[in-house]
């Protein structure tokens, strides 16, 4: 960690990629008083400024992950807001949106305030809470959405559980219009997914594990899209994993439905075959699906049907994953691997260009949740991520800043990673043994 409070920061000579203003050129960025002061060539450093030589690096608006589980309150053995915010910074994220499925759930303004305050104390990425759609995440009646938004919630969701009651989803999409926040939903018809613990298909059949069919996600996505169309509300579909679901979102967007949607790195890069051997680090919800689905998620992410990259960072203590497959909890950590995975496997393979990566990981997430970042325009928050696109590294969970290590990507060799993360003009994370 380096740099003291309010020290001006001049990021010099990097390739600045900021799709929010169509900017992609070698340039300097000056951060002053926590904000972007200037973007241009040959900027001079004010007195006392720290200069960071960025030649050969990418300078971009800070990464934003709109879907993380920070587990606090109630699950501090898995993650705390502080450890999560620091893990986020180490992954290049300057902002994360914390899901409210904690214990107790974040369903009132006091709880929202707690998450915000802990996030500010953490000194890592900014932490913005989402509030619950329903009281206690019970799926019965609306939580105090207005009170939570006033306290700082940037959206509402019952994530962890889908909103099964279509009537409640209608109310949520209508009521949220007052406050202009999205309604994020985990699309899963619980009747169809039933006792499933992985994707339905040959692997599940062979392993003797119950499957969740694609249809369990498809019907819920279609329902949400229909209710969004009915109400004019903004539906944000989380971690979309199915081919037909993506087609449905694409068509809805063409009709003008207000929908944004997430793609996760794991649903793009892994299939249900990763469960082979009952590997609980490949257990997540929605489950890893077929090759065709993974390809559809990549295609949807590249063409923008899926607007944002989200990690669904879901830390679990190793004891909890060290169980028989049926008994292990869903989810994997993702904050410290997302950028490297997507850069290596999408940008590195020519499927996605760098500006579009920045669009999906910074600009679009800010737009979807009405957040202040996602741009290096003058006056914007001084949230910047520096990336070395040539850095080769190997995923080693033992080095994560997250408290948990449940990743299916252990040992993967990646190219490209964040080397510095700046939040509000402060360097909150810097890769050690890199440039001085």
């Amino acid at each position: 960690m380096s740099g003291s409070a309010r020290e001006p920061l001049l990021l010099r000579g990097g390739r600045v990629v900021d799709p929010s203003q169509g900017f992609d050129d070698v340039s300097d960025v000056l951060l002053l008083e926590g904000r972007v002061e200037a973007l241009g060539k040959g900027l001079s450093a004010p007195d006392g400024a720290r200069m960071v030589e960025c030649r050969g690096l990418i300078v971009m608006p800070g990464l934003i992950d709109v879907h993380v589980h920070l587990r606090e309150p109630g699950g501090e053995h898995k993650e705390t807001i502080e450890s999560g915010a620091r893990a986020a910074a180490a992954g290049g994220f300057t902002t994360v949106c914390a899901m409210p499925n904690t214990d107790p759930p974040i369903d009132d303004p006091a709880a929202v305030g707690f998450v915000l305050a802990e996030g500010q104390r953490a000194g890592g990425a900014r932490v913005y809470p989402l509030g619950c759609i329903s009281v206690g995440q019970k799926g019965e009646r609306l939580a105090e959405v207005g009170e939570m938004v006033a306290a700082g919630a940037v959206g509402i969701t019952d994530d962890g559980y889908p909103v099964m009651d279509s009537g409640l989803m209608r109310l949520a999409l209508e009521y949220s219009l007052i406050f202009g926040v999205p309604v994020a939903d985990h699309p899963e018809d619980l009747g169809l997914s039933r006792a499933g613990t992985m994707n339905e298909g040959l692997t599940a059949t062979r392993l003797g594990l119950r499957g969740k069919p694609n249809a369990s996600e498809d019907v819920h996505i279609l329902r949400d899209l229909m209710i969004a169309e009915l109400t004019g509300g903004h539906i944000h579909l989380q971690h979309v994993s199915t081919r037909l679901g993506i087609d449905a979102i694409r068509q809805a967007k063409e009709r003008g439905v207000r929908v944004t949607a997430e793609a996760t790195p794991h649903h793009m890069l892994l299939t249900d075959e990763a469960v082979e051997g009952y590997r609980t680090e490949a257990k997540m919800n929605p489950p890893l699906r077929s090759r065709a689905d993974a390809e559809a998620v990549i295609a949807g992410f590249c063409d923008g049907t899926l607007d944002v990259l989200a990690t669904d960072h879901a830390p679990h203590h190793y004891d909890e994953k060290e169980q028989a497959f049926d008994d292990a909890p869903n989810g994997i950590v993702g904050l410290e691997t997302a950028l490297g995975l997507v850069h290596t496997h999408l940008v590195g393979k020519g499927l996605l260009d760098l500006p579009t990566l920045v669009e999906r990981m910074s600009v679009a997430p800010a737009r979807a949740f009405g957040l202040a970042g996602g741009t290096l325009r003058e006056g914007a928050p001084g949230d910047v991520t520096l990336i070395d696109t040539a850095a080769r590294w190997t995923v080693a969970a033992s080095r994560f800043l997250s408290k948990s290590r449940n990743t299916p990507f252990e040992g993967w060799e990646l190219v490209g990673r964040a080397v510095m993360t700046v939040v509000g003009g402060l360097v909150v994370w810097e890769l050690e043994d890199e440039r001085s």
Binding site: L202, T205, R206, G208, E322, Q323, A324, F325, D326, D327
Partner: protein, 323 residues
């Protein structure tokens, strides 16, 4: 501590990883062990000094007793640990259970568990030999082996035989192990049951799917009739046991319509009047009690081989009577 690696690895977790040769090796090794159970003194010193833990997380009478007889007739020291209800023993994790057993310096564990993969989970974490006595809906390898032995006894060979498994394929570990074993040994395999109880992608395992039991009976040389768990009705997979019996029950009326030699197997315990009618279970086609007898011989063979016994010496190994 030395734990031997048998001719098919340290453990027997499933049939899927075995080759046809390895399956035949177990069946051939079981042959000489059949005779021990017919003796007046049913005990040989093959596993003397070995400690075997029978770790049953699910209720089981016949499989546990069959293993226990096999172990005792081979002179092993056995301990039974039976817990029901939860998949985790009183808050203790499966990992801790495994480590504690290991600390007691045991040689083998026979595990029955409600979660698919639990046997493998244990086997990967302890050096002792692990034998699956059924894990979730995954595999029940010794059941398949005893079914294979029983079919071979009657038909002389398995290759070319048409075997249809009838019932709840979705939840059945017996079905999966049988499919692997039978297809590897060259049998033609069918499965028959309500589509609500048929797992997705089952055809890709090389089996043909019959929707009507009448068609299955017409096609098959052997029917392996699975127990319909009561929970399936509660889960809504079938509306009632009565209706299941009407549509899928193996009855003498259905068998008489196709007069031919047909073997009827059932892994037990039977629901008489549900998946199988009593006159079939007790009738001339039934080899259900042969299966039970063969179960002990097959399990003796598995334990013997895992303990490092040479297959060609099985005959002489059993020669001595425990003094």
């Amino acid at each position: 501590m030395t734990h031997t690696v048998a001719h098919f690895g340290k453990d027997l977790i499933g049939i899927e990883p075995l080759s046809a040769e390895q399956i035949l090796l177990i069946l051939d090794t079981a042959e000489p062990f059949k005779e021990i159970s017919e003796r007046r003194i049913k005990k040989v010193p093959v596993l003397r000094g070995k400690t075997i833990v029978n770790l049953f997380f699910e209720p089981s009478t016949r499989t546990r007793i069959s293993f226990e007889f096999a172990e005792k007739r081979l002179s092993a020291d056995t301990v039974n640990i039976t817990t029901t209800g939860s998949s985790v023993v009183k808050g203790e994790t499966l990992v801790d259970t495994a480590r504690n057993l290991e600390a007691m310096r045991i040689d083998m564990v026979v595990i029955r568990h409600g979660s698919s993969g639990a046997a493998r989970f244990l086997a990967e974490r302890i050096p002792s030999n692990v034998v699956s006595a059924g894990d979730g809906s995954h595999e029940h390898p010794t059941q398949a082996l005893l079914d294979l032995l029983t079919i071979r006894d009657r038909l002389a060979k398995i290759e070319g035989a048409r075997v249809c498994i009838v019932g709840d394929i979705l939840h059945s570990r017996v079905a999966r192990s049988n499919i692997y074993g039978l297809t590897k040994l060259g049998a033609e395999v069918g499965v028959c049951g309500p589509p609500t109880l048929m797992p997705v992608g089952i055809e890709e395992l090389g089996v043909r799917v019959f929707r009507r039991v009448e068609e299955a009976i017409e096609w098959a040389d052997v029917l392996n009739v699975l127990r319909l768990q009561l929970e399936r009705m509660q889960g809504g997979y079938v509306p009632s046991l009565r209706e299941y019996n009407r549509v899928y029950g193996v009855s003498s009326a259905r068998l008489e319509r196709v007069p031919k030699e047909l073997l009827i197997l059932h892994p037990g315990p039977m629901n008489r009047g549900v998946e199988i009618d009593s006159d079939v279970a007790d009738g001339p086609h039934s080899v259900i009690l042969d299966q039970v007898t063969n179960g002990i011989a097959v399990r003796m063979a598995v334990l013997y081989l895992l303990a490092g016994g040479a297959p060609e010496k099985a005959e002489s190994a059993k020669g001595g009577v425990e003094e």
